[in-house]
Amino acid sequence: MAGLELLSDQGFRIDGRRVHELRKIQCRLGVFSQADGSAYIEQGNTKVLAAIRGSKQKTLHDKVLVNCQYSMATFSTGERKRRPRGDRKSQEMTMHLRQTFDAAILTNLYPRSQIDIFVEVLQSDGGNYCASVNAATLALIDAGIPLKDYVCACSASFVNDSPIVDINYLEESSGKPEIIVATLPKSEQIVFLEMNSRLHEDNLSKVVDTAVKGCKDVYQILDTAVRDHVSQVATVHGWEN
């Protein structure tokens, strides 16, 4: 990967973005009628589908049990994937998603219940966790489950002494540091944080800032999408007045 120039002298990245630019985000809420809540999100070439289902169960008497299932479609990656779920990476991702939403959902409001979050990656081009979190947030909002705030996730990296936001697959696999942050954008609280590869401690602050800023940008887009969706639904049902 030595020959790959991740950031040109003019300040452009491989896919033509600037350092602080997110990929194009498109999303829809309520894509399925059977599930209690559902959403579809595209972040550049990463495409994720999320669905929510609520049910009763008896194990936890004081709060809701958040259950997650993360899977990647066999056709989502460059090479055909053998197992859509159950491999180590998927299990890890499932755990992280559950941890994230356990912290963000007001779990004490639904004792003796269970919320299932199903996430399916249809096409993968880096930032799978981020897209999954964003999709699941939209689906939870669609299902009407109370959250502390939107949960927005964004990744960042550090190339040629400058932090870059929302990295794609090529940038992810270049061996440069990758930091993934999920935040509650209004309070700037960090729900999930993970970093791999080497990054000097002095630069940590800059990269985290970039990622948090990315989360806030994502929040703007998600919020607009939710408002649009609600007004659309209201029009259809004639709730406007």
Partner: protein, 309 residues
């Protein structure tokens, strides 16, 4: 891995939490103190045992020659098998690989008797530091014990090397953190990592001294007892030193003798090993064969742990 553990009683839970709120810990440490670290190296190369308080981890490194992956023909493969908690293991440093010479199409793997095994090339040593958070990040503890981990809201693990480069960072648990808290943890980690790296280096130096003398002398004694010693002139003549430095073997040995020697060395190692066992149990080297000379070389340095408060 997840076995059913006995849960803490509410009473104990409240006690620990209130103690933490008073900036006190069960084992009398300050909030930012590390537990006692003890590093012990095993008899074989590549084995190391680290004790941090009551947590004990054994690391063993082994290597073999295999065909590389077709997609990455110039890269080797590294497998890490973890049972229980991952703690930075200095075992990598003690682990050695056999020296290999490539001559045209001929590849020769030198046995340990011929050339001293080489250390693995390790770019840097990442050290993990754990932080536990209580009451939504209000209280912070460094290096939590098992009980403290049971009552915490969440933890953050920072892997860092002595150049202050963060190699891994992970936050787990259902808690909300602020950026400042993350940065504060990484600052604390810098201090702890410097301390621990120094400790590991000291332990490694002790080990190297103990081992270098031991192996060097062992081969010298064995060989001088059993072989006609005649250094080869065309190669660099290094004598005993060559064994320590992984240079070419300077001993001329004919095949018959070599077999004999190999057998002898094996028996030496065996008796050495058993004497080792004896000395551990009773402190008694109860064997007076001629190879006994190798056993008298003290392994005390080797097992002498370095400690850090």
């Amino acid at each position: 891995m997840k076995m059913r553990e006995t849960p803490l009683s509410n009473c104990e839970r409240d006690f620990i939490r209130s103690a933490i709120a008073d900036k006190k810990r069960l084992d009398g440490r300050q909030p930012y103190d590390y537990r006692k670290i003890k590093i012990t190296f095993g008899v074989d190369r590549g084995s190391c045992q680290v004790e941090i308080g009551e947590t004990r981890v054994l690391a063993q490194v082994s290597s073999e020659i295999t065909t590389p992956k077709q997609t990455r023909p110039s890269d080797g493969m590294l497998f890490i098998n973890v049972e229980l908690s991952p703690m930075a293991s200095p075992g990598f440093e003690v682990g050695r690989r056999p020296d290999v010479t490539v001559d045209g199409n001929e590849v020769k793997i030198h046995p340990v008797e011929e050339k001293d095994p080489l250390p693995l090339s390790v770019h840097h040593m990442p050290i993990c530091v754990t932080f536990a958070f209580y009451e939504q990040g209000k209280y912070l503890l460094v290096d939590p014990t098992d009980k403290e981990e049971k009552v915490m809201d969440g933890k953050m693990v920072v892997g860092m090397n002595k150049h202050r480069e963060i190699c891994s960072l992970q936050v787990t648990g259902q808690m909300l953190l602020l950026k400042d808290q993350v940065l504060r943890c990484s600052n604390i980690a810098v201090v702890k990592v410097t301390e621990i790296t120094e400790l590991i280096h000291n332990a490694l130096d002790n080990d190297r001294q103990a081992r270098g003398w031991e192996t060097g002398m062992q081969y010298f004694l064995v060989l001088s007892l059993l072989i006609r010693v005649s250094p080869v002139n065309e190669k660099k003549d290094k004598g005993v030193g060559s064994i320590g430095e992984g240079g070419p073997s300077a001993w001329e040995v004919d095949n018959e003798m070599e077999q004999e020697v190999a057998d002898e060395i094996q028996t030496v190692n065996k008796s050495d090993r058993s004497a080792e066992g004896n000395s551990r149990l009773s402190g008694n080297h109860g064997d007076d064969s001629e190879e006994e000379a190798t056993c008298t070389l003290s392994k005390d340095d080797l097992h002498n742990p370095t400690q850090l408060q």
